[in-house]
């Protein structure tokens, strides 16, 4: 008995030695910054503090109180939720649809379509934004020309506070769906065709096959894709940043939480306040992930 205990202690020590380098890195580059972030959020660290640290004041929770009274924060929060709740499901649905199309037996040139749909994912965001800005141009843009063909009135896509967010969502979904599509394609290819054949023999239609076979079989992928998309979409930054020239306009209609944090922290150097925003975003994402995991587990 004793020898086993000593051995396991020795093993533990050896194990600790092996993981020490990785653990050290995690502590230095992850744990410490997180702790520093918590501490910063409780101070008014700003441009003056960079020059003279003695001007830092400990403000407790008043950054958070200020946050709750800041209409721009609420606007950014609402925008972020708008983007996640509309853009997220839309993105997952489009990816799944595209995956099923690409995977359908009747489709030829599967590899070609997979590449085409995946291309936007690996294209530089800035280049994409330049092109989309032209598509959304109020006078010459393709988007408005299509509307005109349908007999619909012009839309000032990026200039009208009501349309700016839908415009960003449209672009973001187009840009990102290819990645999730590939994951779904992999999942679809893992479903044995015998299941479908058996279902058809039993008289199941296309919708029933989708509901009873495809969706349950894809559940792990759906969960993974759902969580990853949600986390990514909560952190939306680049799309509105480059499409609106860094302003989040018009009238903050496309200002996301991360953009707000960036503006506060790195443009105006209100580091303490920005840290508080980051903390709030972290809590929201954590809550969202927990809810999603609970929902998925409840279904199993």
């Amino acid at each position: 008995m004793r020898t086993r205990a000593t051995r396991s202690r020795a093993e533990a020590r050896a194990g600790l030695t092996f993981i020490a380098p990785a653990l050290g890195l995690i502590i230095v580059f992850f744990v410490l910054p997180v702790v520093a972030g918590f501490l910063l959020a409780a101070t008014d660290f700003d441009i003056y503090a960079i020059g003279d640290p003695s001007t830092i004041r400990f403000v407790g929770l008043s950054n958070f109180a200020a946050l709750l009274h800041d209409p721009v924060f609420w606007k950014a929060l609402a925008n972020t939720f708008y983007f996640v709740l509309v853009g997220g499901p839309l993105s997952v649905a489009v990816s799944l649809g595209a995956a099923m199309l690409v995977n359908a037996r009747l489709v030829r040139f599967k590899g070609f379509f997979r590449t085409v749909y995946f291309a936007p994912v690996v294209t530089t965001m800035v280049a994409v934004a330049v092109v989309w800005r032209y598509l959304y141009h109020p006078r010459f843009g393709l988007a408005n020309q299509i509307l005109a063909l349908l007999g619909l009135p012009d839309v000032n896509w990026l200039g009208d506070p009501r349309w700016a967010m839908p415009a960003i969502i449209l672009m973001a979904v187009w840009k990102n769906f290819g990645y999730n599509m590939i994951i779904f394609v992999a999942g679809l290819q893992g479903i044995p065709t015998t299941l479908y054949e058996a279902a058809r023999v039993d008289g199941a239609g296309a919708w029933q096959q989708f509901r009873r076979i495809t969706v349950p079989a894809l559940r792990p992928m759906l969960m993974f894709v759902g969580i990853i998309t949600m986390i990514g979409y909560f952190q939306i930054f680049t799309e509105p940043y480059v499409l609106t020239g860094g302003t989040g306009g018009p009238l903050n209609a496309t200002l996301s939480l991360v953009m707000y944090m960036y503006k506060q922290g790195f443009r105006w150097w209100n580091i303490g306040f920005a840290a508080a925003v980051a903390l709030v975003l972290f809590l929201i994402i954590l809550a969202g992930t927990l809810v999603q995991m609970r929902l998925q587990r409840g279904r199993e």
């Binding site: 003056y48 960079i50 800005r133 141009h137 990026l158 302003t247 018009p250 009238l251 443009r267 105006w268």
Partner: protein, 439 residues
């Protein structure tokens, strides 16, 4: 030196140079006179950083023993880069700074005051445009020397103005508005009198300065947006959109303003010297004779020309520099009349030194006349570190009214509250300082 070199490599090499220099000094203690070896590190931004390279060899020849090490920094990353360098104690000896950044770096005590050095120098404040020089002074002490200047004025379509029966560029606000109405009423496609991108703060701020608004009150402790002068300018600016004399578009939506200016979609534009070469390059040949520049209108005709922004870049020395003497000599050299003219030739930057404007290279360009006149009438913006943030808040306040989200009263109230909040820390620090001085 290669522009893309990394900072680490760069710092390592600088260290090596220093070590060598120290060794050389230790071995040759008798080396007297001016023979101190100094490597001066200069940070220059954007295109200026590329072009200044060709001016440096002549300086090095005239100053044996002084080497200039040039680091080129993209303009968009410059602000962050300089602040991080300050935090990391790796600031260069001297740098080019946008003159609106000076108050911020002075607040950080990062910059060397230049008053004493200027007393015995070959250049004096009166050699520069007064409004431009003022941007370099904080509480009466100069911290930078202007390198090149920027300001904004009116670029307009002479053919459209003539067609609309306008005989001269506008001199008062009301005349200006009338001109825009006439241009708007011209037959043909949809047309606007002026382009004022609603996500830029320069235009509403210029109008406020013209109306005599101070923008901030009480030594920069609070906003001053309930001042009737500010309100008057704000009303004028917003009314141009309400009357549809200006399109309610942001910069990102205009896409190609040059083409739309050439098409006559808008007949004028308030912009700066960086667009002179763009206009020459991008506007079709047959339209090149149809545009020119004019100083901005004033509120009343007797005050013409109205003031504009005192923009541009300055050269500053950092407090941590070990070669301030040599760095200042480099500033004197770059601000010299001949180098200023040469710099204009190379890149088109307008000289800060007034004497350089008498050179034929500048007098030959008719579009520059308006700039020369406008530069006599430029004013610095409030010199507080929070300025840029305040300026954005002003633009956003105007945008809220233009897009019909708020009434003017509510928008100005909100602006006042926001700006007072931004200045809270400054109030606290200033009050603490005065209390400390009182004790």
């Amino acid at each position: 030196m290669a522009a893309g070199e990394t900072t680490d490599l760069h710092r390592g090499r600088r260290g090596a140079v220093r070590a060598t220099a120290a060794l050389a000094l230790a071995l040759l203690p008798a080396c007297g006179g001016t023979g101190h070896d100094a490597t001066v590190e200069l940070w220059a931004l954007g295109r200026e950083g590329e072009v200044v390279k060709s001016l440096l060899p002549a300086f090095e020849r005239a100053n044996p023993g002084v080497r200039v090490q040039l680091q080129q920094i993209p303009f968009t990353a410059a602000h962050e880069k300089i602040l991080t360098a300050f935090v990391g104690r790796s600031t260069p000896d001297l740098a080019q700074l946008g003159n609106t950044w000076i108050p911020e770096l002075v607040a950080l005590e990062a910059l060397e005051p230049l008053g004493a050095r200027l007393a015995g120098a070959s250049l004096a404040p009166r050699d520069f445009f007064p409004g431009i020089w003022a941007t370099n002074e904080i509480d009466g002490e100069p911290y930078g020397v202007p390198w090149y200047v920027d300001t904004r004025l009116l670029f307009y379509r002479t053919d459209l103005y003539t067609q609309a029966g306008v005989v001269r560029p506008p001199q008062s606000w009301e005349e200006w508005r009338e001109d825009m109405r006439r241009v708007k009423a011209l037959p043909g496609a949809e047309r606007y009198g002026i382009l004022l991108p609603i996500d830029e703060w320069a235009q509403p701020v210029v109008l406020a300065l013209q109306a005599g608004a101070g923008l901030l009150a009480d030594g920069g402790r609070r906003g001053d947006f309930h001042d009737p002068r500010f309100r008057r300018a704000f009303e004028f600016y917003v009314s141009l959109f309400a009357e549809r004399l200006a399109p309610p578009l942001g910069n990102a939506q205009v896409a190609n303003p040059y083409q739309q200016f050439a098409d006559g979609y808008f007949a004028s534009w308030i912009t700066g010297p960086w667009n002179l070469s763009e206009f020459r390059r991008r506007i079709p040949k047959e339209r090149q004779g149809d545009w020119t520049t004019a100083p901005l209108a004033a509120v009343a005709e007797r005050d013409f020309p109205g003031v504009s922004l005192a923009g541009g870049s300055s050269l500053v020395i950092f407090r941590a520099s070990k070669h301030k003497e040599a760095a200042f000599r480099l500033i004197e050299y770059l601000a010299g009349v001949r180098q200023q003219v040469e710099f204009y030739r190379l890149i088109g930057d307008l000289p800060a030194r007034t004497a350089a404007w008498d050179d034929p290279a500048l007098t030959a360009d008719p579009h520059l006349r308006a700039f020369r006149e406008q530069l006599q009438h430029v004013e610095p913006m409030p010199r507080v570190p929070e300025w840029e943030r305040i300026a954005w808040a002003i633009a956003e306040a105007a945008e809220r009214v233009i897009l019909g989200q708020q009434t003017m009263d509510r928008s100005l109230d909100q602006l006042q509250t926001e700006v007072d909040k931004m200045l809270a820390k400054r109030r606290f620090l200033l009050d603490r300082r005065t209390r400390g001085a009182g004790q």
